[in-house]
């Protein structure tokens, strides 16, 4: 009984829905503000994402008549559920995540793909040429970045000789952050490039290139469904940043400042914010690539870096 209750609490409050939702919306707000200053303007306040999502919940929910309603409605719910589940599997406060699985690296990589697949299904089921076009671009882009992402994660797994994220964190607590190991530096670079594609940020925001295909797969979504998709997307940013933190930056490590014990969660959040701001900088200094150029870039540059790391640690 208490186990079910504690699971429910974990899923809904910490580190689940409430916590992740609030923190990720805040991080996206900070990202927008910093991007604005990089572009020589003032930008929205950091709470803007809360207002935007809240406003969307109050809007009318329209489903196009020729869309496939079941898939169209389920896609945002699945995406949302999957990404919150990822947060449960990440070590957020200590080396132990809220939900312990045996080989959670595989589970996380798998779950992180579910929002992408749901967006694609949403695009295809929306009976809109822009939706179909965006969804097909998303499929192609997925084949691009996912390879580099998985190989980079594998390189770390081989180094630590385990498939469990809690082992990664404990290993780094003893041996120092993996980013400081020069053999894994190419893997870090490859994974940072891959997450720029995973999070659909310039130069890889091709599937939802607004000037070309309105909003890509999400064109026909409105109201609460769009809000759910958007929250799922924002939480994905935090989840992916958290994943990279656990892999390369040591995860949540409690530290000491002047005798005050700061809990691991704070260091986790600071490291995640650093990664998010890195992606923000990247998105402000480049133009959008074409899908064939993006895939070529992933399969040459990113994959080669990741494979280099893998070979160096075997």
């Amino acid at each position: 009984m208490t186990e079910a209750l504690s699971f429910l609490l974990a899923y809904l409050i910490f580190p689940g829905l409430l916590f992740t939702g609030a923190v990720s919306l805040l991080f996206v707000g900070i990202d927008r503000k910093i991007a604005a200053h990089m572009q020589n303007r003032i930008g929205p306040p950091i709470w803007q994402e809360f207002f935007d999502v809240g406003k969307l919940f109050g809007k009318e929910d329209i489903t196009p008549s020729s869309a496939q309603t079941t898939v169209f409605t389920l896609a945002p719910l699945l995406a949302f559920g999957a990404i919150v589940a990822v947060m449960l599997l990440l070590p957020v406060n200590s080396a132990q995540p809220a939900l312990v699985l045996v080989a959670d690296l595989i589970a996380i990589i798998y779950l992180l793909n579910i929002p992408a697949i749901c967006v694609m299904l949403g695009g295809y089921s929306s009976a809109c040429p822009f939706g179909a076009s965006g969804a097909s671009r998303y499929v192609v882009q997925l084949f691009g970045y996912e390879l580099a992402f998985i190989i980079a994660a594998l390189a770390v797994a081989v180094k630590v000789d385990s498939l469990s994220l809690s082992d990664f964190v404990s290993y780094q607590a003893q041996n120092g952050w993996l980013v400081l190991d020069w053999r894994l530096l190419p893997a870090l670079i490859a994974s940072l490039i891959a997450i720029q594609g995973k999070l659909l940020r310039v130069p890889f925001d091709i599937p939802e290139a607004e000037v070309e295909i309105v909003h890509g797969p999400l064109t026909e979504y409105s109201g609460p469904k769009l809000a759910l998709m958007r929250i799922a997307y924002d939480i994905e940013i935090l989840a992916v940043a958290g994943f990279i933190t656990a892999l390369f930056l040591g995860g949540p490590t409690p530290f000491n400042i002047g005798g005050v014990q700061i809990p691991g969660i704070v260091s986790f959040l600071i490291k995640c914010l650093a990664i998010v701001l890195f992606t923000t900088t990247l998105r402000c200094i480049a133009a959008r690539l074409r899908i064939d150029q993006a895939v070529r870039f992933f399969w040459t540059f990113a994959v080669i870096l990741a494979v280099m790391s893998l070979l160096l640690v075997i």
């Binding site: 822009f130 310039v202 607004e210 000037v211 070309e212 402000c284 480049a286 133009a287 959008r288």
Partner: protein
């Protein structure tokens, strides 16, 4: 199996409504059909129903960005019809405002083009620098848009001595910024990846489809109304005509940015040599029967006004042929064979101004049909 992607009339890539039907296979474009007419406002008929003085203000409002070009071309045509020579000082002031408008238009376009390739930061920076030009134009003419600087017979306002140091400072800032943008555009890898060898228009096609302006000059066609058919003070000011030979989107970017630098040079020259004297001569309201054409190099290319007078205060017939209209046929060879991702940037690279293109006419005041505009609505829209 081909698939039809509709772009327009409402689409984030389009600043103004127009409709393109692209037939695509995968991402490759097989064919495109262009449908215009969404900004159709009844201008040619409107110009025939108004006196020359009223028509001046209507002609100016054909387009917001090339407003001075239309203003200038219209007054030049009327002055030719009346056989009137305008004072020298007026010619120089008209030239300066025309070049300032060209700088404004090209910077605005550069920002839009950056937005079309997803480079939002560059878009914001271009538009920040465009504010300098807007400030200068506001100082000279009193307005950021629709300057109304030309009156029939000269200019409406004079330039004052206290404007000169401010213009000087503004031009220095613009020159430095534009030189920086030229070096950014020619070296940034993502911009080059999206703009090089995209939307190529060969010189042969450009000539056959009668393309005009920076669009044609980027394909190697050496034509510029300021040099070939000089008007205002251009015959007395030395300047270079910028051409490139590749004919791709990147060439068009380079041509326009370099034209901004040329324009800055022209303004400096004009300010140096500006004569003193009156700025306006009287032109009678009734103009004897005559026909005249005037051509102006608007920021987008050759703008033509053809007027026929009949002895009254209203023209018999007025014809406006704006530059984007001439550039539309050349879009087809540019699109076919490319991909969907290139549509926005290729379209933006001709610098389309649809409100110029669609200015031909319907208008009837009695039907009350919703799409037909009454004089009241036209006036309201023109404000």
């Amino acid at each position: 199996m081909t698939f039809v992607v509709p772009i327009g009339p409402q689409h984030p890539a389009l600043l103004e409504p127009e409709h393109f039907r692209f037939e695509v296979r995968g991402e490759e474009i097989i064919d495109v059909k262009i449908r215009l007419g969404y900004m159709h406002r009844g201008i040619e008929r409107g110009l025939m129903d108004r006196t020359y003085y009223q028509g001046l203000y209507l002609a100016e409002r054909i387009c917001g960005i090339c407003s001075h070009a239309h203003n200038l071309c219209f007054s030049q045509t009327v002055e030719r019809l009346a056989g009137v020579e305008i004072p020298d000082r007026a010619r120089y002031i008209r030239t300066i405002v025309a070049e300032l408008e060209r700088i404004h238009s090209h910077l605005l376009w550069a920002g839009v083009a950056a937005h079309e390739i997803g480079f939002i930061t560059l878009f914001m920076l271009f538009w920040r620098d465009r504010e300098h030009v807007q400030d200068l134009l506001e100082m000279i003419s009193g307005n950021r848009c629709y300057y109304s600087m030309c009156a029939i017979g000269g200019t409406r306002r004079d330039m004052r001595p206290e404007h000169l140091p401010k213009i000087d400072r503004g031009l220095k800032v613009l020159e430095k910024a534009t030189k920086h943008y030229v070096s950014v555009a020619t070296s940034d890898r993502t911009i080059l990846a999206r703009c090089e060898n995209i939307g190529v228009l060969t010189k042969q096609d450009a000539r056959n489809f009668c393309a005009v302006g920076p669009h044609a000059r980027a394909s190697g066609v050496d034509v510029d109304m300021r040099r070939d058919d000089p008007y205002a003070a251009y015959a007395e000011i030395p300047f270079g005509v910028v051409t490139q030979s590749e004919g791709d989107v990147f060439a068009r970017v380079v041509v326009r940015l370099r034209e901004v630098l040329e324009a800055i040079g022209i303004i400096r020259h004009a300010l140096d040599k500006m004569p003193t004297g009156p700025i306006r001569t009287r032109v009678r309201a009734k103009i004897p029967p005559n026909e005249a054409t005037s051509r102006v190099e608007a920021p987008r290319g050759e703008l033509l006004h053809f007027g026929i007078s009949n002895g009254t205060e209203k023209p018999e017939r007025w014809r406006v042929r704006p530059p984007t209209y001439a550039n539309i046929p050349s879009l087809v060879p540019m699109f076919v064979g490319g991909t969907i991702a290139e549509i926005p940037i290729v379209l933006a690279s001709i610098d389309p101004c649809m409100c110029c293109t669609d200015r031909v006419t319907i208008v009837d005041v009695t039907t009350g049909k919703s799409r037909i505009l009454t004089m009241e609505e036209l006036r309201r829209m023109a404000r």
